[in-house]
């Protein structure tokens, strides 16, 4: 089998279930764009259970249509053919059966797709790749590309893990984000060299929590630099504004509406400090090369601290020990809570990170470069598929 960028054009079926918020469909949308940007890009069929959520990211998606063409993709509803439209899905697969399937985050397969894959009258081999959630934990390298099983030896399955090391599939490096990243890196260089930016921009995109300490630190910092805090739509916006009101509105804030992914990436890359949640925004923050604070999804038994510590361990080699202490203590304090428990406000001091003390800015930038050096997950996924399909 030759390199993936020569030879026949592969068709990928990408399955996605929207579990909560827009994290799952957001990653799938980014992956689809990144795959479509590759030389000899694959044909894509996206099978999604919540087309309304998808339409917020890609307005061309019509939630009422079961099968549609969006960009160069075929988008299908997870629901499948109905008695009124039995042929509509058959046409989507006529002459181009499902051979390579990306099952995102172990979402499973709809019944109509399952019947197609495991058709006893079909002897052709099929391959499923379970694209797992991003994590910095060591198991990502251990589980990456591991063979798996289905109930039929004809339908093979493998795991594929995004991650922060060369032993994993890496992170998605889509063109739009990478261009924004480069553009704002140049702008910051120009500002550092010739004139500082007018305002220090902070992006806040977290879960519901008490932001009192964060507001205090930003307020203190605002005495040194003019600050603008941009508040992403959703869970953290209301909580942050409540803490800001209690503090007497000490700096400028701007509540934002829901943004499309491309606009979100542009905004994220343009900011000077980032408070982010979830895996996709965390990966963007890490790639952006700017100081950031990550809030992991709270889990039973405070299991999220394991994930936070794993990320810190990936970051640590790029930081001086003394300056990393402030980063580490802020990350851990910001995430130290039980899933249904109260926040432990007080330890999440971000002042040193805002002032980028001790060369923190250079360290975050170095970490970012290391992640880019691991390569594009879209490319590594296609290389893997060409090996196994």
């Amino acid at each position: 089998m030759g390199p993936w960028y020569t030879g026949f054009q592969m068709t990928l079926d990408i399955l996605c279930k929207v579990v909560d918020n827009y994290g799952d469909i957001g990653v799938v949308y980014r992956l689809a764009r990144a795959l479509s940007e590759l030389p000899a890009a694959p044909r894509l069929r996206l099978i999604v259970d919540d087309l309304a959520a998808f339409s917020l990211l890609e307005p061309a998606v019509d939630p009422s249509r079961m099968v549609q063409s969006v960009r160069d993709w075929t988008v299908l509803s997870w629901e499948g053919p109905t008695p009124e439209n039995p042929a509509v899905y058959r046409d989507a697969y006529a002459g181009d059966p499902a051979v390579a399937v990306i099952e995102c985050f172990a979402c499973g397969r709809p019944d109509w797709f399952e019947a197609m894959l495991f058709n006893p009258d079909d002897s052709a081999a099929r391959t499923i790749v379970n694209l797992e959630y991003l994590t910095a934990e060591d198991y990502a390298g251990d589980f990456h590309k591991m063979p798996s099983l289905t109930r039929s030896s004809r339908v093979r399955k493998h795991l594929f893990l995004p991650g922060f090391t060369a032993a994993t599939g890496g992170l998605i490096l889509d063109d739009a984000f990478m261009h924004a990243r480069a553009r704002y890196a140049c702008a910051r260089y120009a500002c550092a060299r010739y004139a500082p930016a007018e305002r220090f921009r902070i992006l806040v995109f977290g879960y519901e929590r008490d932001y009192t300490r964060i507001v205090e630190d930003i307020s203190l910092f605002s005495h040194e630099r003019q600050v603008q805090v941009l508040l992403a739509s959703g869970k953290s916006q209301r909580c942050f504004l409540a803490a800001w009101e209690r503090a007497g509105r000490p700096f400028s804030t701007e509540p934002l509406p829901f943004l499309r992914q491309e606009s979100w990436d542009e905004l994220l890359a343009s900011c000077d400090f980032l408070i982010v949640r979830g895996e996709d925004s965390m990966s963007r923050a890490a790639l952006a090369g700017r100081p950031f604070l990550w809030q992991a999804y709270p889990q039973d038994g405070a299991h999220q601290l394991i994930k936070v510590k794993a990320l810190l361990d990936r970051m640590r080699p790029y930081f001086h020990a003394a300056s990393f202490q402030s980063v580490e203590s802020a990350f851990l304090a910001f995430n130290d809570r039980l899933a249904d428990g109260p926040d432990l406000v007080g330890g999440e001091r971000i002042a040193p990170m805002l002032r980028v003390e001790g060369g923190l800015a250079r360290s975050y930038a170095a970490f970012s470069e290391s992640l880019v050096a691991n390569g594009n997950l879209a490319s590594s996924l296609m290389t893997f598929l060409r090996e196994i399909v």
Binding site: G108, M146, P147, L149, H303
Partner: protein, 188 residues
């Protein structure tokens, strides 16, 4: 059908003509859509073993098995000899075929185990989910530390080393979860 979450060491399932027995659980990782479990399986037809990562969504055909209650009679090198509690016949299993379970049991145990038979041959052992073991060595415990937040390694009377809460001491009797070899609770 057996789901991935029902698979334990000693479980046997089919993939087309292949009959696979789970020998070892090699680790798990969690996600919002369930666990992915790394396990070592042995193909009973070819004898080959492979390490696989199974997510919770898959289902497999069950295999018709015979199960017999037995007790571990003695261990001779890498051969584990079991005694059928009804027929008093002896059956041998290699240590590799017991997988992780070999580390959890001793000939002095009073509890029964189930030996699985496929086409008349013993192929694996299924243990109770929780079994009791005694700690034979660990670093000193801390009186009153019942938080269980941190752990330390402890050697059990079967030779297995398990992570236990800090308050455990030499002589502490514990329940071991045989599905993944983890500490379940202290026996009161």
């Amino acid at each position: 059908m057996l789901t991935t979450s029902q698979l334990r060491v000693g479980s046997i399932f089919k993939v087309d003509k292949d009959v696979l027995v789970v020998q070892r659980m090699l680790g798990q990782k969690g996600g919002r859509n369930g666990m992915v479990t790394k396990m070592r399986v042995k193909n009973l037809l070819t004898g080959g073993t492979s390490d696989l990562g199974l997510d919770s969504g898959e289902k497999f055909d069950e295999v018709d098995l015979d199960m017999h209650n037995m007790k571990l009679s003695y261990v001779d090198g890498d051969t584990y000899v079991f005694l059928d509690q009804e027929s008093f016949e002896q059956y041998e299993l290699a240590k590799d075929d017991l997988g992780d379970n070999a580390s959890y049991i001793t000939p002095e145990d009073e509890f029964d185990v189930e030996i699985t038979f496929y086409e008349g041959k013993p192929v694996g052992v299924v243990l109770p989910i929780n079994i009791e073991r005694t700690i034979t060595y660990c670093e000193p415990g801390i009186k009153g530390d019942t938080s269980g937040k941190s752990t330390k390694p402890a050697t059990l009377d079967s030779g297995f080393v398990v992570q236990v809460p800090l308050f455990c001491d030499i002589g502490t009797r514990i329940k071991l979860d045989t599905r993944d070899g983890s500490f379940a609770e202290r026996v009161k």
